[in-house]
């Protein structure tokens, strides 16, 4: 049986999968073979090559969610709602990665898993806002009012992102500032691993958001068909 056109995987999505797989192999090679061990922290510094790009992927996911929510509030177009859900879900996955890998690095660097540093606290806050969004959206078939409330929450969550970014500059905490304007930078041999890390996570976050948005469109289509069929009395028997 052939799949309907809407369910077929677009060529660009297939290409993105191939590119992501190739970048994944390249970044692992760069991290574990090319990049040297850091002088003061040792091998645990290699967490940095996934931790920082994960934070960047989290920013992308949450921004997609907030911007799509704002457009949904303005236009009431279900496609934007699909992107908002996809962005929040994918952003939350990367937020979990950031909030777990960071403390594992901190155990070695600071001697403790967690400290209420401004950047850590504001990242946790952003995660909680978007987790709240996902909890709200997980209550089955929610109505228009709940969708709009959730969209408002996502837009509110966007306000926290610049605070996370500039927190290390405004309120000097303990979080490293290696790749910021104030930082001393990376050893030249460490740069390829970080650059490839950013490229890999960019491709991965785009891939996951795209695929999740397609699935959300499929769910919306199912729901619309069910409602339509029920209204016409076509599904009463089954």
């Amino acid at each position: 049986m052939t799949q309907p056109t809407s369910q077929r995987t677009p060529l660009a999505l297939t290409l993105l999968i191939v590119v992501s797989a190739a970048l994944c192999l390249a970044v692992l090679y760069a991290i574990f073979v090319v990049a040297p061990v850091e002088r003061q922290m040792g091998v645990v510094q290699k967490i940095f090559y996934f931790h920082v790009p994960s934070a960047y992927a989290m920013y992308i996911g949450f921004t997609v969610s907030a911007v799509s929510s704002a457009v949904y509030l303005a236009k009431h177009d279900e496609r934007w709602d699909g992107f908002a859900v996809a962005g929040a879900e994918v952003g939350s996955i990367f937020c979990i990665v950031v909030l777990v890998t960071g403390p594992l690095w901190a155990r070695k660097a600071w001697g403790t898993y967690w400290t209420w540093d401004p950047r850590l606290t504001t990242t946790l806050l952003a995660g909680m806002v978007f987790f709240a969004y996902l909890v709200l959206r997980s209550f089955g078939s929610i109505g228009e009012v709940e969708k709009r409330f959730a969209a408002g929450l996502a837009v509110f969550g966007l306000l926290d992102l610049p605070i996370i970014h500039f927190s290390v500059q405004r309120w000097r905490g303990t979080h490293p500032t290696v790749i910021t304007a104030k930082g001393g930078g990376l050893h030249p041999d460490m740069r390829p691993a970080l650059i490839l890390g950013f490229l890999f996570f960019s491709a991965l976050v785009a891939l996951l958001i795209w695929q999740r948005a397609r699935i959300e469109r499929l769910r919306q289509r199912c729901e619309a068909l069910e409602v339509d069929a029920a209204e016409r009395g076509l599904l009463e028997e089954g």
Binding site: Q40, G42, I47, H51, T177, G185
Partner: protein, 109 residues
């Protein structure tokens, strides 16, 4: 005599251990070991790596979390997609069946 011997021993010990202490201060981590330097610069190691808290298990745990999270989510998406495709097909089949039966009834009437 005893006092002279103790003084000589102390002086000898100082001369013997001072270079070792100075060398320890000049070890790989010493010149840029301030908290600010550690937070702003990552530098490559020279020579052997000696760690007080083992970084290997922490690194392994961090990478395991990344891969479990990403692959777990991909598997979740695959299952969700499969379930929704099945559901969509079921609804479309049911609607087509009922519509066909209705059309048959209309043509008879």
């Amino acid at each position: 005599m005893l006092r002279y011997s103790l003084r000589s021993l102390l002086l000898g010990a100082c001369l013997l251990f001072a270079p070792a202490a100075a060398l320890a201060e000049d070890g790989p981590a010493a010149p840029s070991a301030t908290p600010d330097d550690r937070a702003q610069t990552f530098e490559a190691v020279t020579g052997g790596v000696k760690e007080d808290i083992a970084g290997g298990p922490l690194l392994l745990a961090a990478y395991a979390v990344v891969w479990i999270a990403v692959f777990g989510y991909v598997v979740h998406l695959g299952r969700l997609h499969g379930r929704l495709s099945e559901s969509l097909q079921r609804i479309e089949t049911a609607v087509a069946k009922v519509a066909k039966a209705a059309a048959k009834t209309d043509s008879r009437g």
